[in-house]
Subunit: 654 residues, 2 copies
């Protein structure tokens, strides 16, 4: 489940479009201003990416929301001066650190530190290349329009003009070609065509090699037409990039709902569909393959590219999604101990799986670690370069299955937790996906007797429910104000802290025998009913958050680490980019001990990893190593898991 | 065109069958005693191979006819004692050499030297392993039933019993298997089946690997069932061996006429058929593929083997035959400069080319040197190990295209000569293939006034024509008696040497204005016409023999060698085994300077090489190297060729 899909459906449903970038897919999309008056647009240049953040958000966080990770080795203390940016308008008053660091002219020109600055109005901010975190240059830089990674793609093209055979020069056709391009393999079909092709083209043309295999001898010089597609094969959302393999640049983006959702929202229901219907596997395979093929068509059409010049498609998805795409029966992924068919990268004929690219083009499916730690996670490990991190680094992909990876001392351990769908609004009484009308952010403004609830609704509409990020916000705020207790129990009205403001006090209501929190009254919602968050809703959140936290704890414990030892906490997936770190930490979803500056939003790492594998053979090989290097930890086998889970269910006491 | 086919058709047409071995294919076949009273059967033990030779033939030659090459480093001088054999009956009187070499008891037991002994009656002779030429042990030994070559086949089978996945042991299926058998590739189809196969077989079974690829996981332990087929893809005859890859033994043989002969006798007419018919290529491909598939069926049926246990088929044929089998348009093989599509070994799915072996089994097609030096020649180079020979070594495959290979100082040069079909009886006025009624051997018995013509007819029938070997015999004998002159001219009756016998003199007749030789009168032939060899027939022979001789000369000259420098002359192909060395030398087809002991009959080296490549990966790799190492000499480009050809057209003066 990727948040981006919500944003996209939102943009489809609302009025006058604006163009922006969704940074979790890197996709350009159109949407209507969805902000309340309290939110401000921050535009980052070069690249024009926008983030919409509540007033008071630190600029470094706003950049993270936009998918731009700034370098801040000092942890946001304002001392290292690495996260320097330039405000084109509305630069705030410099802090002491900034006065020390910048000359008067620089300050006048708008230079500030992103870690020291908060957003209090709409601004346009320039981020110099040097301020972006080194390791992410190559992933995010050209999303940002700045530069490109050097590429070492699997596709090699070489234009050659061969001598025409004549008496005394009668070497076999293929060997003649090999003398120019080096040794190659080729399939019988192409070998059958080669003699005629060579003669029709007067022994001149472009040899196209995929790895060591010759896949075509194209007329003329087509060296500059070399394309690939990277696909994030999400359970809910499909996202794809068209890539120029010469430069590594992305040329176009496309996304759509995964049509398999029609067969079930989660992987288990799709596995069940396969088990119960003889044609189930074919249906699931064909629906997603057709969708991806159509997306490839869109990508080509939007750039005027020839589909035959797309030679590879790299796919990253969870293990079940990948097997369904490849039409490999996922039966053993549906029962203990959830065994995948293979862990390796799969290299398959694109034509055989229904994708219309070059007829001898290939699909590369990312390697997987285990049944619930799939190619999307491996892509994430690859894209974040966490395996090469110096200090202990945690990667958390927050979703229905929260995948967690820990890198420490050259070891990688990975686990998945059945977090459940609470973060996606499911099983929450008035929960909803983050579509139009969803409350997506909640803030308790002011303190003491002035404290009052503010919220932000997607689409700038009256609220009709709340989505996962709002639930996290609300729980965190209520914990801070003593309305929600660490055990997860809401106070009954008579138990509320004495100093509580009237606004908050009035919102604690009794629903039958249980307390509940009135997030929006009927008047506020404009519905015939208020929006209420129940005790049971908070229990669901406890379960979801506790599962991820317990998983994190156990992975850390196996390495003899505690959360405070973590050097980096990387948040992957679209959803993660919309949560607020402090609130996620307050409820224990993210380690409370970790300084904010160590928590990084990485965007759609599955897509970023697939892209890397598409443009770089080295990255592809690395992903294979990473998948095998990572130790798959089955948390349910760990005797400590139940205890850890019970502990993690408790919200941290502050 | 392989002689074996004639022998087989002969056996089909005649009466009471006897079982023998055809040594050019290694095939067991039945035939009726085809010998005149002058021929004697020599049976070689162990193995029971038979050769039928004219009285007076040296035993070492008889063994060569039977495909058994004896070691004789002394060149047949009787001094080295390497070619010792034991007569089970009818041992001739010992020569001086033999008396020196063997004890009285040994001589009494029948020990003799094959180079010193002539055949004067039907005998049974034992050949000890040690007397066989070292380098050929592995090729011919088990044809001989003695021993087998150590094999390193491309097929690897391993029986494994894997742990069943359980909590805490959830590694992906393929990786679980790889932990037992090492890393493998596999195709998507098999990967799709693997999870179910593993579970149905309780994670136990036999992994079948072809090279690095897993092609099956068979129930139970099938390690001892590992088969391959080697095929000689002859223009006229197809021959196939079923091989046990564990021992390297051949289990069965099959052969039949190449049904492509229905589309034309030679390669050029088949190339023309492809050019002129849109379905021509498909027809030619399907006819030969169907025939080979049927032969595989025969091989399996005759041994009770399961076709699914045949994992590879190795094919050796000339370049055109190989391309037709693979359905690669041979158009550019039909025009100057006769360019093959590829020179490499081809590895192709057997199912895709219509062969029903294991569904993921493969066909390996031998690499080729050039348009007219094909996989059969490469197989011959491989089987004879001529590339590793110490002294200059020549391989001659006598047929419509005479392929010639010279090995010298680590270099291999190869050429083909358009010898034409004279050796196969075509373009000879009363020529025929070596079938029933063909005169196959001619001898002028006695000398001086007692000299008279003797001949041998296949099938022990009245003669109806003569085949190539008889034409060579006749030309040689007539040269010896001055009836045929070195320029190739037959004497007119008045020009005949004075001392000629009456029998010979009477046979020189005048046919119109030209002289001719009466080989068999109407009375002898039992036909209403005599069998006459015309002046034009000898001209055809001159052309055929001259082409091969000129090719030999030029290859030698390029290396600065003369025929006398040759350490070995290896004769390949079924036809070669039926000619008599002295006669072939007399007409110049083989270098007259070469001592007999240096001329070796190698039998069907195409099949022997294919068999080696089937049982040995090392041999397969070697064949690839040999094909590339060999320099293809286009004789028609050599400015000296026309001169050399004109010279070679002259029969040597004695």
């Amino acid at each position: 489940m990727r948040y981006v899909e919500f944003r996209l459906s939102r943009s489809l449903a609302t009025g006058v479009p604006r163009v922006g970038f969704d940074l979790f897919t890197g996709m350009r999309f159109q949407y209507k201003d969805a902000m309340h008056e309290e939110e401000f647009a921050v535009t980052f240049e070069p690249g024009g990416k926008k983030a919409y953040v509540l007033g008071g958000t630190r600029l470094v966080e706003a950049a993270a929301v936009a998918g731009l990770t700034l370098d801040s080795p000092c942890g946001g203390e304002g001392t290292c001066g690495k996260c320097r940016v330039r405000f084109r308008n509305g630069a705030p008053k410099p802090t002491n650190c900034e006065t020390e660091l910048f000359s008067q002219k620089q300050r006048h020109d708008g230079w500030r530190l992103a870690c020291q600055t908060t957003v209090i109005r709409p601004v346009v901010v320039e981020i110099p290349q040097a301020s972006l975190l080194g390791s992410h240059h190559k992933i995010l830089a050209e999303l940002h329009g700045v530069s490109s990674a050097p590429t070492d793609p699997n596709v090699r093209k070489e234009f050659v003009e061969l001598n025409t055979p004549r008496r005394g020069d009668d070497v076999p056709d293929l060997i003649r070609l090999e003398k120019a391009v080096g040794p190659v393999d080729l399939d019988l079909e192409l070998l059958r065509k080669l003699p005629q092709k060579l003669r029709e083209q007067s022994f001149s043309g472009t040899a196209v090699m995929l790895g060591g295999e010759l896949i075509d001898f194209e007329p003329g010089d087509t060296c500059h037409e070399s394309l690939a597609v990277a696909v994030d094969l999400g359970t809910t959302t499909l996202a794809a990039l068209l890539l120029d393999l010469e430069s590594g640049n992305q040329l176009a983006v496309a996304s759509r709902l995964n049509p398999q959702t029609g067969f079930g929202d989660d992987v288990l229901s799709r596995i069940l569909h396969c088990r119960e219907n003889s044609q189930g596997l074919n249906e699931l395979h064909e629906s997603v393959a057709t969708a991806i093929d159509e997306m490839i068509g869109e990508l080509a059409a939007s750039t005027g590219a020839n589909r035959r010049r797309i030679y590879e498609v790299v796919l990253a998805g969870n293990t079940t999604m990948q097997q369904l795409f490849c039409r490999i029966d996922p039966a053993s992924l549906g029962e203990i101990p959830f065994v995948p068919a293979t862990g390796h990268c799969l290299c398959v004929s694109a034509a055989k799986l229904g994708l219309h690219i070059h007829p001898r083009g290939r699909i590369q499916v990312m390697p997987v670690v285990g049944g619930f730690v799939g190619g999307d996670t491996v892509a994430g490990i690859l894209a974040t370069e966490m395996a090469e991190a110096n200090g202990p680094t945690l990667l958390v992909d927050i979703g229905t299955n929260g995948e967690i990876v820990l890198s420490h001392d050259g070891r990688l351990t990975a686990a998945s937790t059945a977090a459940g769908p609470a973060f996606e609004g499911a099983r929450i009484s008035q929960g909803m996906r983050a579509g139009n009308g969803a409350i997506e952010k909640v803030l308790i403004e002011n303190s003491g007797s002035h404290a009052r609830v503010r919220f932000n609704v997607i689409g700038n509409l009256p609220p009709v429910g709340l989505c996962g990020s709002a639930l996290i916000d609300l729980a965190a705020e209520l914990l801070r104000h003593g309305i929600l207790l660490p055990q997860g129990r809401l106070c009954m009205p008579h138990e509320l802290p004495a100093e509580l403001s009237d606004d908050l006090r009035a919102r604690v209501v009794v629903d039958g025998k249980h307390p509940a929190f009135l997030l929006a009254s009927s008047a506020e919602s404009g519905l015939d009913r208020p929006i209420v968050v129940t005790q049971a809703d908070f229990r669901e959140l406890q379960l979801a958050s506790g599962a991820i936290r317990a998983g994190t704890e156990l992975l850390l414990r196996r390495e003899g680490l505690s959360p405070g030892d973590l050097d980096r906490v990387l948040i992957a997936g679209g959803f993660g980019n919309f949560i607020r770190r402090s609130n996620a930490q307050r409820i224990g979803l993210l380690p409370p001990e970790t300084p904010h500056s160590r928590i990084r939003f990485q965007g759609n790492t599955a897509l970023a990893g697939a892209r890397l594998a598409a443009i770089s053979v080295r990255a592809r090989q690395e992903s294979q190593q990473l998948a095998r290097q990572a130790e798959h930890v089955d948390l349910s086998c760990d005797p400590e898991f139940q205890n850890a889970f019970a502990d993690a269910m408790l919200f941290p006491s502050e």
